[in-house]
């Protein structure tokens, strides 16, 4: 069996061409990042400044002030004393175990990533809902973003921007943005046809239809998307810490390599605490503002 047959082995590209392909692509990308790396970095500079400012704000303010503000926001969103106390107590516990600073760092980056995802995601979702062609182009891209292992797209980002906060944010946003896009699209498409028809029949223009009918009625679905986006951003914290994003991810990473079981567990639990806070508060907010949509007479 000296001769290879395509019946027994899958036809392969020969090694030299494969090498050539890799070289070409890597080379092209390296050239691209050398050429444009600086200007792209400059483009992200304002974001970096904001990130640092926000992180410092959370870190340098007295802990009780930060705690008070977070509890206040939780109450404003949910109007539930029970939930607010729960949030405050769990944050105090996290602080008591020595993870306050890391928690604040993580919280700042998650907040920024979520905001970016919303600002980018909702318009993309709207565009998808408006046109089937946009939907069929964007959907496979979202599929790739969600299934491609995060490590893989860390490589080009790091090549382009080095390590640090910005590549971290980009990686987190790529991973976390699909739900908000998908659910904005879905929510708008599921809006009752007759309600939309009524708006049209009364002479509403596309902007009035979008802002007056489609977005408000899609809001519960969009809120679910935002909620998912927050959860996925938190899930990326550990991976992002591999490219230098500080926060609760780094101690976890350290404890994997050094087999520090307790540190890993505690920091992991702190991430869980953050996730639960974000989740419960945003859900309660969504439910409270959409109360009149559900239940009732029917």
């Amino acid at each position: 069996m000296a001769e290879k047959s395509w019946l027994t082995d899958i036809p392969e590209m020969d090694r030299s061409s494969l090498l050539q392909l890799r070289k070409t692509m890597d080379g092209a990308y390296r050239d691209f990042s050398r050429e444009y790396g600086d200007s792209i970095e400059a483009f992200f500079d304002p974001l970096l400044t904001f990130l640092i400012w926000f992180e410092k704000l959370l870190l340098n303010s007295p802990w009780w002030l930060v705690l008070g503000v977070i509890a206040g926001l939780a109450y404003a969103a949910s109007r539930s004393a029970k939930l607010t106390i729960g949030v405050a107590v769990s944050l105090v516990v996290v602080g008591y175990f020595g993870m306050w600073d890391d928690t604040m760092r993580t919280m700042s980056i998650i907040t920024v990533c979520t905001l970016i995802s919303i600002v980018l995601g909702i318009p993309i979702g709207i565009a998808m809902a408006r046109s089937n062609r946009v939907q069929s182009t964007v959907t496979p891209m979202l599929d790739i973003m969600q299934t491609m292992p995060a490590f893989v797209y860390l490589i080009p980002v790091v090549m382009l921007l080095g390590i640090g906060r910005i590549p971290g944010v980009i990686a987190v946003v790529i991973y976390a943005i699909p739900p908000v896009i998908r659910l904005t699209n879905l929510g708008i498409r599921l809006v009752d046809k007759e309600v939309l028809e009524a708006a049209t029949a009364y002479g509403a223009n596309p902007r009035q239809r979008l802002l007056g009918v489609q977005l408000p009625l899609a809001m519960p679905t969009i809120m679910a998307g935002i909620n998912q986006t927050i959860m996925m951003a938190l899930a990326m914290v550990v991976i992002a810490s591999m490219i230098g994003v500080k926060g609760l991810g780094q101690p976890v990473l350290k404890s994997i390599t050094n087999q520090y079981f307790t540190i890993g567990l505690l920091n992991g639990l702190a991430i869980v605490v953050l996730a639960i806070i974000f989740d419960r508060v945003s859900q309660a907010y969504g439910k409270r503002t959409q109360a009149h949509l559900g239940g009732g007479h029917e």
Binding site: D192, E194, A201, Y202, L217, H292, H297, E298
Partner: protein
């Protein structure tokens, strides 16, 4: 309400659903059937050769079963659906030629619409829903809310302003839908099966309310329904659609008494005629009109004509009462032969009006020993309704129908 001031004209309207509707038009015009075209090209013919004229101030009912194209047709009036060919002309403007901006203005000011499943904004309060049309027009909040409050009161929903639609019952929701439509002061009202989703009792309540409102507002209403009873009750004129084709149009009585084909006949068969027809359509010329001025003269007149009852009218034709020969003879014997009608005590003076629905006059007609007089608003004698003519029109169609069915079985 028969003024012939045409407000809306539909000319040669066609609608074909599918990828390339234009390519199918020659086949449609050549008269191929809906099924043939669907099988050959995958296109569905929605509407075919629709020609309509709708007068100002009338309720025009478009009726048909599901799939007949009636909902498609009503959506052409405000172009929620684009036609494949044809024109819709409202006061000289071809709606099909309006550009986007003009169309928006047209929809805001000329037409408003009421939907089968209400189409209310679930996230707006009842008040905001009613004011929606004005909000879209950019009317000030205080002005539009004041107007909305007035219309809510008109439809009987005062006090519900701050509720949300899903806190209301179906009937109440549709009242909100109606108030929203009226709030823009549009001249034309499109009602797409507006009452079909409601319970029968609520439905007839809403129909009454619509009729009452229409008396006050005199809008031009295009009303879609699959319910012939409703069509007959509301419609000044009715058009019947079948498979996207106009089968018959005319006044309710015309359709009821002279159905154009079997399809319409099948519809008409189950109609409660007693409720659908008015006295006017069934009454006959009064046979015995007594113009004599005294009892004695009347008796003579009656004997001469050899009949035993008559409707007494004065010089101006105004109805006074009904007399029988028996009663006249008794009065004459009693020495009242010379008394005039004012002096005599006419006991039988029951009358019915010509616009009354048959159902409501059944008791009077059955109780009377002779045909009952029909008078107009001024009390003028217009005709008479006998038991036999009432019976005839009420049993007529269903009797013959069942007979013919039996014959077929044999």
């Amino acid at each position: 309400m028969s003024n012939s001031d045409v407000l809306i004209q539909v000319k040669d309207l066609y609608k074909v659903f599918g990828d390339k509707p234009e390519s199918v038009m020659p086949m449609v015009k050549a008269g191929k059937s809906k099924d043939e075209i669907l099988a050959e090209t995958g296109h569905t013919v929605g509407l075919k050769e629709i020609d309509l004229e709708i007068n100002r101030g009338e309720i025009f009912v478009i009726m048909g079963l599901s799939g007949s194209g009636k909902s498609t047709l009503i959506r052409h009036f405000n172009r929620l659906i684009e036609p494949t060919a044809g024109e819709i002309i409202v006061e000289g403007t071809d709606v099909m030629k309006l550009n986007t901006k003009e169309l928006e203005q047209f929809r805001r000011h000329k037409m408003s619409m009421v939907f089968q499943r209400f189409g209310l904004m679930p996230h707006y309060t009842v008040l905001d829903n009613v004011a929606y049309g004005l909000k879209i027009q950019g009317v000030d909040k205080s002005v539009r809310e004041q107007k909305a409050v007035e219309w809510l009161e008109t439809v009987g929903l005062k006090g519900y302003e701050e509720q949300y639609p899903n806190q209301l019952s179906g009937g109440q929701q549709q009242r909100v839908g109606l108030a929203r439509a009226l709030c823009t002061d549009a001249e034309i009202l499109l009602m797409d099966e507006a009452f079909s989703a409601l319970d029968p009792l609520i439905r007839s309540e809403m129909q009454d309310q619509l009729i009452e409102l229409q008396h006050k507002l005199n809008k031009t209403i295009i009303f879609i329904t699959h319910d012939l009873d409703e069509a007959l009750r509301l419609g000044d004129r009715i058009a019947i659609l079948k498979d996207g084709l106009l089968v018959q149009q005319g006044e309710p009585e015309e359709i009821l008494l002279n159905p154009a084909d079997e399809y319409v006949e099948a519809f008409v068969k189950d109609v409660n005629r007693a409720r659908a027809l008015t006295v006017e359509t069934v009454m006959k010329e009064p046979e015995h009109r007594i113009t004599a001025e005294t009892i004695g003269e009347a008796l003579k007149e009656m004997k001469r004509g050899a009949y035993d009852y008559g409707h007494v009218v004065d010089d101006s034709g105004s109805y006074q009462g009904t007399v029988t020969q028996e009663w006249l003879e008794e009065e004459a014997k009693g020495g009242n032969a010379d008394s005039t009608w004012e002096e005599a005590d006419l006991t039988e003076t029951t009358t019915i009006t010509s616009d009354a629905v048959l159902e409501t006059v059944i008791p009077e007609t059955l109780e009377a020993d002779h045909p009952i007089p029909v008078v107009d608003e001024e009390g003028q004698l217009q005709g008479e309704l006998s038991r036999s003519s009432l019976a005839e029109v009420l049993v007529d169609s269903s009797e013959t129908e069942s007979e013919s069915v039996e014959n077929q079985k044999v």
